[in-house]
Symmetry: D2
Subunit: 133 residues, 4 copies
């Protein structure tokens, strides 16, 4: 992604840990796309009735990952409280979505992959929070 290069050229980089921030940003972007795809794949399955909770949590998780990806990308005049609580919501959504997708992982490969991506995003968010003290 060109985003690393973009942040290199930023006139006012934040004081956040650079590598932790880039990993969080990358994982949020990937998790948003993966959850959008998993909601849609679940919707296309014959047993969609059994996957209703998975669709719901995928939609919430996609929306939160999109928003946190944007907030973490912005470097100018950050408010640490906003960043912290937004990442916290993202962690909660990733955890809930991974737990639900795990229940369907044996029958649906897209749920297995999605659960993995959610867990990776949860970890990257947690790691960025840890560097923020």
């Amino acid at each position: 992604m060109s985003i690393r290069e973009m942040l290199d050229k930023h006139p006012r980089p934040t004081t956040l840990d650079r590598e932790a921030l880039l990993r969080c940003l990358d994982e949020c972007v990937e998790c948003a796309a993966t959850c959008t795809s998993c909601a849609d794949a679940c919707l296309g399955e014959q047993d969609v009735q059994a996957l209703v909770r998975s669709v719901r949590l995928n939609l919430d998780c996609a929306d939160l990952c999109d928003t946190v990806g944007r907030i973490v990308t912005r470097q100018t005049e950050p408010d640490l409280g906003v960043i912290r609580t937004a990442i916290d919501a993202c962690v909660t959504a990733c955890r809930a979505c991974a737990a639900e997708c795990d229940r369907h992982a044996a029958h649906h490969e897209h749920c297995r992959i999605c659960a993995d991506v959610c867990r990776r995003c949860e970890r990257a968010c947690d790691d960025l929070l840890a560097t923020m003290g």
Copy 2:
């Protein structure tokens, strides 16, 4: 808004307090539009240099209000932890945005209105959280 009528017809309404939920939803939708407008109005001002923090926080607040509006609208298979942490992030963003817009309220009417709308949204979010125990 037709959203009240939509929720009346929902096959599985959540157990959340209905009036508190509707007010939170309405205020999130209005706050998202107002913050998008305030960021844009600040950008159009001669003294945009002095309004950089306001633009930044308006963009964060608009994104979070949009996302929380969507999450609170969804009634099917909710995860209370996701709802709670998402609303919490919204409260934090509304408070930060109102505080910054207040600083410019004497010179820019759009900042004065935006600060008021953010505070109303913060209150509606807090009220919904309070009903969730």
Copy 3:
């Protein structure tokens, strides 16, 4: 909505027809919320299998209405080509979503309401396009 008041205070209002713009903006915001709600209500129905196309088109329509609502809200340095093509996509999504929701209107009140809101939004978008020449 406070958005009318916000646009009154804008330092650089666009040359677009003010009433047509406000109506388009209001309808986009309402249609986005209604489609988000209808997708979720369909997902909660016993016969979700029969409503898969409705969910899909509701999700597309919600995303487009959200984005067009933001673009039309912004007054500073607009690009008319971007505004025109974005509204055109919104019109197409509203029409497709209304047609599908109509098919379920007899069995699901939320689909009936959603089809009406989509048609109103389509009309408001068309009217704004007409004023743009």
Copy 4:
């Protein structure tokens, strides 16, 4: 990105050209993040006054790329008219944003990179449209 793997496991892949679709999707996701970053970097520059149009077009382009990325990711029950007009709006936004960022490329590296990413996204969108007949 895991999105390629996700689409491999989809129960109902669309009839769209698979490689063209994946490239369009990747570029939309990257362009959305890059435009969000460029708007923020412009906002942080000393000469933000000269970059107002760039910020505005970056915000529009980020919103459209996000939405088109989501629409193109969805495979279940697509409406080709919605996909076509949405991609068309994205092409228009990428072209307008690239043209404006080009004007600042000599002074701001983030604008130079952003213009390149917008042009790549414009091309990937055009290529997908071309395969749709």
